[in-house]
Each structure stands twice: as structure tokens, then as C-alpha cells.
């Protein structure tokens, strides 16, 4: 899961797509507008985001609508948060040791 999220956010187009979804859901056409690439190319990026579960697709009438799913982002951050904690604790130990002698 975390692996997919890394891969998904590594691409600038996919980050731009996620940016556009931060303020709420958008129809496929609206989402693709303004990108200097074909609709199929945009769809391909959306598929990567869907596979990473960062984006959910629903149908509203004849339109496909995309919505941001933040959960995988939080999971990925929790993984790294363990390391942030580890280093913070370690540096505190170092400080105590160096200043204490």
C-alpha cells in the first residue's frame, strides 16, 4: 500500500491531479481540462491514483466523478513517523550524554 502511494505521488501530473481534488470532487472532464496531454493519458494517471486508492471513482448519471481518498497518505506518513520519533529520541539521548559529562 505504502509502495503504491510513493509511486503514485512521484509523478508531477498525478500530484497536479491530486491538487485539483483537494477542494472537493470533480468530474472527469473538469479534471482533465488544462492538461497539456490527451484524455487517455490523463485517464492512465487517474488509474494509477485509483490503484493506490488515493482517488475513488463514482458515476453520477453519464459522468464519472473523482474524489480524493486521504487514508493511504496518512498510512504512509505513519510509517515514516516511527523513524522521526526514533531520531528525535536518539538525539535527545545524545544531548544528555554530551552535556552531562
Amino acid at each position: 500500500m505504502v509502495t503504491d502511494v510513493y509511486h503514485a505521488v512521484a509523478d508531477p501530473t498525478r500530484r497536479a491531479l491530486l491538487d485539483r481534488l483537494l477542494n472537493g470532487e470533480k468530474a472527469a472532464q473538469e479534471l482533465a481540462d488544462g492538461f497539456d496531454m490527451s484524455r487517455p493519458a490523463v485517464s492512465k494517471h487517474l488509474r494509477v491514483l485509483r490503484e493506490a486508492d488515493l482517488v475513488r471513482e463514482t458515476r453520477k448519471g453519464r459522468n464519472r466523478v473523482y474524489k480524493l481518498n486521504p487514508k493511504p497518505l496518512r498510512e504512509a506518513d505513519e510509517w515514516l513517523a516511527q523513524y522521526r520519533q526514533f531520531w528525535q529520541r536518539n538525539l535527545s539521548n545524545l544531548k544528555r550524554h554530551v552535556e552531562g559529562r
Binding site: P12, L73, Q88
Partner: protein, 145 residues
């Protein structure tokens, strides 16, 4: 690629901090704590390309090791080594310490732990940018509950 950053100011000169970071005897005394885990058998030589390692025993008795290769050495400013923990099946990452003298007669110690990601082939600028963005989102509360 994503990284973990941590820093602290220590009220001692860089030379003293450097010794604590590289002397096996000192490392064993400060790295870890009784309520968490203790480290022992530290091996570290101050030559680039040499292997380093240490063993750890958690408070509950669980044994683990971590080690790697010393890749950068500029006393008392920069120390970097690769990081291969026995407790996690992930590709090798890199830990880099930077020591900077502060005008308060102390040392700013910065740790950059880099290389977290799916695999080496995907270590790319895009990941770093991507991760910054993710952290930005998180800090803005956009993706928090």
C-alpha cells in the same frame, strides 16, 4: 525520495559531539535507554568504505542488529553511513549527520535519514518532491480527519 529529518542543539563543541557519534564506547552508553533497548558490540572505524554495526537488545529481550558502510567522513562536520536494520525488510537507506557550530557556543546536530521508498530503481527526484507535497498536505490538515 522521502526523508526523515531531525535536529537538536547541543551545548558542547562539535568535536565533543563528533566523539560521541563515532566512539564505540560512547555510542554504547548513549544510544538506547534501559526502558527501551540497549546497544552493544558497536563497531565503527573512521575510514570511508569500512563496515559499521551494532547489536541491540530490547527491554523485552528481543535481539536485533543494524549496520552498513561508512560513506562520508569529515570530522567534526559530516558523518554518513548506510543503514540496514535487521528488523525491517526494506532497501538500504542512508543516515547523514551534519554538525554546525552555533553562535551560542553549541553544536546544531542535524540528521537526514534518506532513501525510504519502494526500491532503489525508483529513487528519484520525483519521490522527494512527492513526499514534501504529502507532508505539506498533512501539515495543512487537508487530509487529517
Amino acid at each position: 525520495l522521502s526523508e526523515v529529518y531531525s535536529s537538536i542543539e547541543i551545548m558542547a563543541p562539535p568535536e565533543k559531539v563528533w566523539a560521541a557519534l563515532t566512539d564505540p564506547e560512547q555510542l554504547a552508553s548513549w544510544w538506547g535507554s534501559d526502558d527501551d533497548y540497549r546497544t552493544y558490540n558497536w563497531r565503527m572505524e573512521l575510514r570511508p568504505g569500512t563496515a559499521w554495526s551494532c547489536e541491540a537488545r530490547s527491554a523485552s529481550g528481543h535481539e536485533s542488529t543494524v549496520g552498513g558502510t561508512v560513506i562520508e567522513l569529515d570530522p567534526p562536520r559530516t558523518l554518513a553511513y548506510t543503514w540496514n536494520p535487521s528488523w525491517e525488510s526494506m532497501p538500504e537507506t542512508t543516515v547523514r549527520y551534519t554538525l554546525t557550530r552555533t553562535d551560542r557556543k553549541g553544536t546544531l546536530v542535524e540528521v537526514h535519514h534518506t532513501g525510504f521508498g519502494p526500491d532503489h530503481a525508483q529513487i528519484a527526484k520525483g519521490h522527494e518532491e512527492g513526499w514534501r507535497r504529502v507532508l505539506g498536505w498533512l501539515s495543512k490538515g487537508v487530509v487529517s480527519e
